[in-house]
């Protein structure tokens, strides 16, 4: 519980500093990493992700946290008289992990890009 509380709070903090809803929605926004979340293939130790890894991370996180627009959903009336809307998994939870100071991993299930970026230490890069 204690670690959970810590994670919850620090996550929200990063959110306030790093990625707002506007940044999250803007595909042109570039991000930079502030946390060591990538595992170095040579040393096996955590390090900050490089540019290509950040782009991959941002792309995957955007795709996994995409939310369906109801009006655009394919809705069909079934034999039972109901309406079925395709979500295509877009309401899914995304599990993330980052290392703690002691080297253990802290995990978090998120539903939005903003929270995921905050948890993983991605911030909008104002230098590019």
């Amino acid at each position: 519980m204690r670690h959970a509380l810590l994670g919850m709070a620090s996550c929200a903090l990063a959110l306030s500093l790093g990625v707002g809803a506007a940044d999250a929605a803007d595909n042109s926004v570039k991000f930079k990493a502030t946390r060591d979340i990538a595992v170095d293939s040579v040393t096996g130790k955590f390090r900050k992700p490089n540019t290509a890894e950040i782009e991959k991370l941002v792309g995957d996180l955007r795709a996994m946290t995409k939310r369906p627009v109801a009006a655009a959903m394919t809705s069909t009336a079934g034999d039972t008289g109901g309406i079925t809307a395709k979500l295509d998994g877009e309401f899914g939870g995304v599990v993330l992990a980052r290392p703690r100071a002691d080297g253990s991993l802290e995990t978090r299930c998120v539903f939005t890009f903003e929270e995921g970026a905050a948890f993983l230490g991605l911030v909008a890069d104002a230098t590019t």
Partner: protein, 569 residues
């Protein structure tokens, strides 16, 4: 009753019973299948040789992944009942760093009726995730599609064993249980920032129907959208109203809820959302109730403000024996708390600075140096809450940092499970998880804690109970009638009515209330004292079915004839 007759009827009853047992063994629970979407040589098909780990006997990495997936599916399949196969399409892909995986429902349905005895949707204009909707409809509402989508990282080193001995690595099985649960409808489809449900304000979802806000005294479907948005960040006051979860809370959650309260002055007296520290004693060790005093220190290079607590306090006499109030920033949390300890404070509250004005109460990390010297409880507050206290200091502020022994950790004072509703909104993590203050730790908290087991029901967990509340009703014979309403919870679904070895050729139908024709015949066989009573009772049953139009005269005659014939065998 003669011994011979008793034996004969007993054999008949046994043959009917065996039919029931065979059916139960074959189809009870839910069948969840993993649909492998990986191509050759990747993901589930990765041929890298591996050795068995923790009961996972797969000989390749791909096999072990699939075994772990299927085990998670089986745990939910053994827990839930559905006559419709649940299909989870799954793949392992090289995801970005830090991403372990994802899962969610592929479709949602509303306003559907049920086939046969299945109840359909319990409420109108209410979305159900695919698997739950299918269960209640008794038929696959989207037969061309799968029900849950799952994608996990092939880059990540999960523990693939099945025995929960995962050490420092995340246990894939637990992660899958958590994510599959979201796909099984442990989630709302609301946009928590706007308070609008998927599809528009005229709709809600089955999960949201049980979200009760203690401040508004309402559940989400009865609230205005702006109030729903406020409820999503109403820390400590968003609770689950379902009876099954509430009844199980005493078996799962421990007494002793940590809390931070301001007791006076009345203008700011309430319970506050707080963050905890990774150093020093926990809140409640010991309980502290004392005046709050703002710490003052020199404005210097170590900390430019007199409120940052980065150097030795200059108002030690005022601080001693009281709760020190410090502003965040410049130096680490642990150093501030160490300085408060040195000043004789009974506890320390650190509130967010301007740079973190919109942030939630932070979790306070140790710096590896100062934390060891902190001997008092430390908590963090939002900037708004901190400034509210600052604004009343002149009037005298008394606060307490306690563990309330009468409230269960993760429940409200009325014993209802709390949902995760941090303020400010922490993305979509909120609401669709239990509160992270729960103790014991729960599967569906936002963090997947290392001490979780693979048991999803009380007294180990509350996930199954929430599923029961939202409509995953127990249905042992999968006839669509909930066990507690079913006149025969383990019906005989033998296709045709038979008496011992005599097949009547008459289809055995499922009747209102959850019994089949074969069930009722078995009942009269058990109650009959002799052959005549048995045949007479079967005749009355068959005549009743004929009058109801369920069977023809010829079918009735076949049933009666077979009943009479069976007594002479």
């Amino acid at each position: 009753m003669s011994k011979e007759y008793s034996t004969k009827l007993g054999a008949l009853a046994l043959s009917l019973m065996l039919g029931v047992m065979a059916y139960g063994q074959a189809t009870a629970d839910a069948t969840i299948v993993i649909v492998n979407l990986d191509g050759p040589g990747e993901g589930f098909n990765d041929p890298t040789p591996t050795t068995a780990v923790g009961g996972n006997t797969g000989k390749t990495l791909g096999e072990q992944r699939l075994i772990a997936f299927q085990r998670a599916a089986d745990i939910w399949g053994e827990t839930l009942d559905s006559n419709v196969v649940i299909r989870i399409q799954a793949a392992f892909n090289p995801l970005g760093p830090g991403i372990l995986g994802s899962a969610g429902a592929i479709s949602a349905s509303r306003d559907f009726s049920g086939i046969g005895q299945h109840p359909g949707a319990e409420f109108p204009a209410t979305w159900y995730g695919a698997a739950l909707a299918n269960k209640r409809a008794g038929v696959d509402l989207d037969p061309a599609g799968n029900d849950i989508n799952a994608q996990f990282s092939s880059n990540f080193n999960f523990y693939l064993g099945l025995n929960n001995q995962h050490g420092a690595n995340p246990d894939l099985l637990v992660v899958l249980l958590h994510e599959f649960a979201h796909g099984l409808n442990f989630q709302t489809f609301y946009d928590r920032t706007t308070g609008v449900s998927f599809g528009g304000v005229q709709f809600t979802d089955i999960y949201a129907r049980y979200l009760f806000d203690r401040t508004f005294g309402l559940t989400w479907p009865d609230m205005k959208k702006k109030d729903v948005a406020a409820s999503a960040i109403n820390f400590g006051n968003l609770v689950w109203s379902g009876d099954t979860v509430t009844e199980a809370v005493p078996d799962v959650l421990d007494f002793g809820s940590p809390q931070v309260d301001v007791l006076s002055p009345p203008a700011i007296a309430r319970t506050y959302q707080f963050g905890t520290a990774a150093f020093g004693p926990s809140v409640g060790s010991p309980n502290v109730t004392d005046p709050v005093v703002a710490a003052q220190d020199a404005a210097n290079t170590a900390g430019p403000a007199t409120t940052d607590g980065c150097t030795a306090f200059t108002n030690v006499p005022a601080i001693a024996g009281n709760i020190a109030l410090i502003e965040r920033g410049t130096c680490g949390f642990a150093l501030k708390a160490r300085n408060a300890t040195n000043a004789g404070a009974s506890a320390v509250i650190i509130y967010n600075n301007v740079a973190n004005a919109a942030g939630a109460p932070p979790g306070m990390a140790d710096d590896g140096i100062n934390g060891a010297f902190v001997t008092i409880p430390a908590v963090s507050l939002t900037r708004a809450d901190g400034l509210a206290i600052v604004g009343e200091l002149a009037n005298g502020v008394t606060a307490r940092l306690i563990v309330d022994p009468n409230v269960r950790a993760g429940a409200d004072p009325e014993g209802r499970a709390r949902l995760y509703a941090p303020n400010p909104l922490v993305g979509g993590s909120s609401v669709s998880h239990y509160d992270s203050v729960a103790s014991r730790n729960l599967l569906m908290e936002p963090s997947i804690n290392p001490d979780l087991t693979h048991d999803v029901s009380a007294p180990h967990d509350l996930t199954h109970e929430l599923f029961l509340d939202i409509g995953w009703f127990p249905d042992s014979d999968l006839d669509g009638v909930a066990n507690d309403l079913d006149s025969q919870a383990n019906s005989d679904f033998t296709p045709r009515i038979a008496f011992g070895g005599i097949d009547t050729g008459v289809p055995s139908q499922l009747l209102d209330g959850g019994s089949t024709m074969s069930d009722l015949i078995a009942d009269v066989a058990a109650a009959a004292q002799n052959d005549r009573q048995f045949v007479d009772a079967v005749t009355r049953l068959a005549e009743g079915w004929r009058k109801e139009g369920r069977i023809t005269q010829a079918q009735k005659d076949a049933i009666v004839s077979a009943a009479a014939g069976s007594k002479t065998q």
